[in-house]
Amino acid sequence: MTDPKTLTPLDLDTPDKTFLDANELVINMGPQHPATHGVLRVILRLDGEKVLGLECVIGYLHRGVEKIAENRTYTMFNPYVDRMDYVAAVSNGLGYCEAVEKLLSVEAPPRAQYIRVILTELNRIASHQLWLGTHALDIGAITPLFYTFRDREEILKIFEKYCGARLTTHAFRIGGLQYEAYEGFEQDVKNFVSFVKPKIDEYEELLTTNRIWLERTRGVGVISGKDCIALGVTGPVLRASGVKWDVRKALPYANYGNFDFEIPTGQNGDTYDRYLVRMVEMRQSLRIIEQAVAGIPEGPIMAKVPKVMKPPVGEVYHSIEAPKGELGYFIVSDGSTQPYRVRVRPPSFVNLQALDLMCRGQLVADVIAVIGTLDIVLGEVDR
């Protein structure tokens, strides 16, 4: 395994020589490319079809979220975080709300915590479903995409019934929730759990033992646990490399300490293991949802928070386990109504850094598979 520190940046500016002289070819993939999941641009240096190295060019979707935060109040900034990782908007909101709550030294009431957990875990499933569909599509299997989107629809329906939005939900408020769970919310969630369990089996039936799927994913984009830690890679990618670490277990937040679930890990750190880890994670999320729905307490849903929020001077770093990895918020307060500085630690951005290491020596087709398996959302990479 290559030591990530010894990777030197590529000289991509010199004009490529002809094939017969050097066998090298610089190819530009993206920003408009069907398999880069948005506006990621990857410059590949190839030897035939073998990747010698690559460089990511990002920032096409940069909207200056951190700058915006400094010019909005704490409450006003809340909807903006949904626009970062837009396929897991609920997780973003949870992280932000909890970070500000920590700054304010308040805690959301238990009922709110439970509903938050249910929605966040539903969102994790939705995010993984979207990942599975697009990842399989990248590798050439077109059918799983439609299956996963069909089932993700049910989650989005629950979101829509709960807060009126499907994608950028703005579901949580600082201090708890604005909306009480609607009539039949628990039943809907229970129905969903029993609905989606056989569906996950269905995805696995299509892919897990499929010969071509195995050949395309086994031993592809291998990254060791050590490299993962050095590169700051978190989430399912880290776990697939054999490091049993999950923010939900390591530094529990939002009531996760009360639930019984397991952290799946892989051994080889290849694309197939990452696939398996995410599949198990979906099932574990269902387990958490089942427990949460069964134990959902009565009570208030909003803690006592001042209308005009002026957190005391200080700074706080709070992170949660988003579907992609560790999503952290570092917030500095100067005692005014607006945050002095909000730093988002985006899992996609940091994970994307591993692409170069994971792709060296692989083939062009594997680059696609590895981009897919990293599960990046460009909205979060570029912010």
Partner: protein
Amino acid sequence: MVENLQRMYGSGVNALTHLGQNYMEVDRTLIPEILQVLRDEEQFDYCVDVTAVHYPKREKQFDVLWILYSFARNERMRVKTQIADGETLPSSVPLWATCNWLEREVYDMFGIKFDGHPDMKRILLPDGWKGFPLRKDYGILQQDHEWVQINLGIESGQ
């Protein structure tokens, strides 16, 4: 751990806790050694984030922070230092490979250079952009009009 560090480095290290989160304020000159010790001896093997905060009214305008995590101790630690505008910091890429992009982003947003970084250039903004957006003196509507006009062929991006 903190006593240990303080014994070694004296008054340059100041350990504090806020809202249950540990952080230490470190003198600029001690940064490379402290980070090295934290990684090698105190097992902070995972660099979560590198970022900066701008305080234009201070003499040393920038706070630069390293958020570290130790898998072995299950503990987070923030290391914080103050530097003036134009001052550089040693790059921590040799310590944590993840700092590569994170330091580039700090440079991109604040204009803080890191010595010894393998590829110190802008990451999110285009290469020719002027100004560092997350500095407090950079207005929210401000942009590099010249760049926009040359590269996008439009009068203004707004």
